[in-house]
């Protein structure tokens, strides 16, 4: 439990730091009439040092519909000369001075800039007072994302800690997940019936982490079918997943000591079109009649087409996805469904590998943290304290 104490301490230290990061400098106002007032300039935060933000107010009595243009002037000397750098017909109260490759306009960290803003009504322009001096600065860290950094930092630390401790031999308990129990059984059932197992890793591109994760699960499934010598069909709906799946399946057979069972017809590509894949896979389900259909990955509307077709042939259907919008259909039409995070627990569950069980434990701790934030935050909010909401501002 020592570690937990350390985390609490760390968290306590983080809170004030995150609080400070939210502090905004106070306004200093200089009254001015008939044109924009309170012209404020500031280095744009968290950028590459090539932008300056300008903010201003309009006098209350001004008729905004008269303004046809706002013009921005800039100089490197407080006394001028001021050169017009931009003009636009929008009535806004802010502007960002940025470099523009086409016009050759630059904003440099080497210079100090002064600004003026003018309102133009079609015939005359009213120029504001000169702003304060500003010089852009490069920031090497986006302080607005400090909270993301800290929360992910905690998570990463927990993951690495639990991986280490479970490698050292500390047992990590994992509760029974019926869907994954059924997965092993259903492969056995397919063997008895002499029918293949169908595996579909979703239809999403590899940029969806679920697709990548599905490859990890596929390797265990391949090992499983290799032991039973059950035929395997992997249907793929994105081109880049083809080499990934082929590699994974070959690897799985090799790990199981049966590289001879691998053949080039296992992984089948049904084009990137979602519904062409749905049509093709439905065809496989009806004609090759797999005893088990495993849908693990990122699915979209085709989920119900597949699951209903699979129901027709009486296959055992096991689904799992993190795509919230498709979970209802899998839950209704499949025998077992891994809901959201349960899907991400599959590789740890199937392999019982300490390296993979550790992160699960870490995710549980993060959920405690989330529950703490929600619970304590709600109590504080009830009394009008919005500290937590501000800490989590992105």
């Amino acid at each position: 439990m020592k570690w937990a104490n350390f985390i609490y301490l760390f968290l306590l230290c983080c809170i004030p730091v995150m609080g400070f990061a939210q502090i905004v400098p106070e306004d200093k106002s200089v009254p001015e009439l008939r044109t924009v007032q309170n012209l404020q300039v500031a280095d744009a935060p968290n950028d590459a040092g090539d932008a300056v933000n300008l903010f201003w107010d309009f006098p209350k009595d001004i008729d905004k519909s008269q303004i046809t243009e706002i013009r921005i002037y800039r100089s490197t000397d407080v006394s001028g000369p001021f050169r017009q750098i931009d003009a636009f017909p929008l009535v806004t109260d802010s502007y960002t001075d940025e470099p523009d490759e086409e016009t050759g306009h630059i904003v440099s960290t080497e210079e100090t800039y002064y600004y003026k803003v003018a309102l133009y009504n079609g015939s005359e322009e009213m120029i504001s007072q000169v702003s304060e001096a500003v010089s852009p600065e490069i920031s090497f860290f986006n302080w607005g994302r400090l909270n993301v950094f800290i929360i992910l930092g905690i998570y990463f630390a927990l993951i690495l800690y639990f991986i280490r401790s479970s490698r050292k031999g500390k047992e990590i308990y994992i509760r029974t997940l019926p869907g994954l129990e059924a997965l092993e059984e259903s492969v056995g059932r397919a063997t008895e019936m002499g029918k293949p197992v169908l595996y579909m890793p979703g239809i999403d591109e590899a940029n969806n982490i679920q697709t990548l994760y599905s490859m990890v699960i596929l390797r265990y499934v391949t090992q499983l079918v290799a032991e039973y010598e059950t035929p395997l069909i992997v249907t793929v709906g994105k081109a880049f997943v083809v080499p990934l799946a082929e590699e994974t399946v070959r690897q799985g057979y090799m790990d199981a000591g049966r590289p001879d069972l691998y053949n080039q017809d296992i992984v089948r590509y049904y084009s990137d079109e979602q519904f062409a894949a749905a049509a093709g896979v439905s065809g496989v389900i009806l004609r090759e009649k797999p005893a088990t259909n495993i849908y693990l990955g990122s699915f979209y509307a085709e989920s119900l087409i597949l699951a209903e077709t699979g129901f027709l042939t009486g296959s055992i259907q096991i689904a799992g996805t993190g795509n919230i919008h498709q979970l209802p259909f899998f839950v209704v039409a499949c025998d077992y469904t891994l809901i959201g995070e349960e899907f991400y627990a599959a590789s740890a569950y199937l392999s019982k590998d300490p390296k993979l069980l550790g992160p699960l434990k870490a995710a549980d701790w993060m959920k405690i943290l989330a529950i703490g934030f929600i619970g304590v935050g709600a109590i504080l909010e009830t009394f009008g304290i919005d500290l937590f909401t501000r800490l989590l501002q992105i």
Binding site: L90, T92, Y95, F275, H325
Partner: protein, 290 residues
């Protein structure tokens, strides 16, 4: 493993486990008939549709609207009527809004172009390049959204027809999201509303409303609740309600009769299924699996 494999089935059980093709046939008939002979049932407007309408009303005249239409023919049924209704709203009063259309689905921009031509040009006489523009499709999903934050002209150097966009008057002075008054997204999934919220609203603080398919709508309700989306239209119903708000009855409204009846039939099937289920369970001495 269906239970009662050994016991002989009673008539009621047979009806409960009836051929699903009967359901299919019933659905087909109840939807097709009202399309041929409409009934004209009334329509009520939901709050999120009102908010959507309000958000577009709230922007000043002459502002620039970013109008990404992220869908392709697969979702045309629900979303195209929406695009049409929104365009009616943009152009119906002479508000001089400047509409910048684009699409992050490869097959999206041609549909958008069709809508622009059918509504903006033919009905309101709007002019391409002056009142509206179609920037077309750009590969890269979220990357496109993020790089538009840097510069829209650099992300889309040419429009749908390959014309350089600096030759179009509408694009003058438009750099990035700071020049956009509202982001009106019509989205069928990925990349779409969720990504615009993640990449644009939370980073550049842009006012955004979204019209989505009925299926993705529930996923976006959290964004509507947390204020990241100012309003939402969902599915054909959202489009029909919107048509009511802007007083322009169109294809969405006519489809709603079929919708109503379709829903009714499915609900009836569920009720009948449950009655049979309860009767069958009572008739059996042992309840089987459940």
């Amino acid at each position: 493993m269906p239970n009662g494999m050994n016991a002989p089935e009673t008539t009621l059980e047979k009806i409960e486990r009836m051929d699903r093709r009967i359901v299919f046939l019933a659905i087909a008939i109840t939807i097709i008939l009202p399309l041929i002979w409409p009934l004209g049932l009334p329509i009520e407007v939901s709050p999120q549709v009102d908010d959507f309408h309000e958000a577009i009303e709230s922007i000043p005249d002459g502002s620039v609207v970013l109008f990404p239409n992220d869908y392709d023919p697969a979702s045309k049924a629900e979303l195209y009527p929406m695009t049409v209704a929104i365009l009616h709203h943009f152009f119906k009063e002479d508000r001089n809004l400047k509409i910048i259309g684009l699409g992050l689905f490869p097959a999206g921009p041609p549909l958008l172009q069709k809508a622009f031509e059918e509504v903006a040009v033919e009905q309101y006489g709007a002019e391409y390049g002056k009142d509206f523009v179609n920037l077309g499709y750009k590969e890269g999903r979220e990357i496109v959204m993020a790089s538009m934050g840097e510069s829209i002209p650099k992300t889309f150097p040419t429009d749908f027809f390959g014309t350089p966009i600096d030759s179009l008057p509408i694009m003058l002075g438009i750099k990035n999201y700071t020049d956009i008054a509202i982001l009106v997204n019509v989205s069928a999934g990925y990349p779409g509303t969720k990504e615009w919220v993640q990449q644009v609203v939370s980073v550049f603080d842009v006012l955004m409303v979204s019209g989505t398919t009925g299926v993705s709508a529930p996923e976006y309700y959290p964004y509507y609740n947390s204020g990241q989306l100012a309003g939402m239209l969902e599915g054909l119903k959202g489009a029909a309600e919107y048509e009511t708000l802007i007083e322009k009855q169109g294809i969405a409204t006519s489809g709603m009769d079929a919708q109503s009846l379709g829903h009714l039939v499915i609900i009836l099937f569920i009720i009948v299924g449950n009655v049979l289920f309860i009767l069958n369970r009572r008739n059996k001495t042992k309840g089987g699996r459940f």
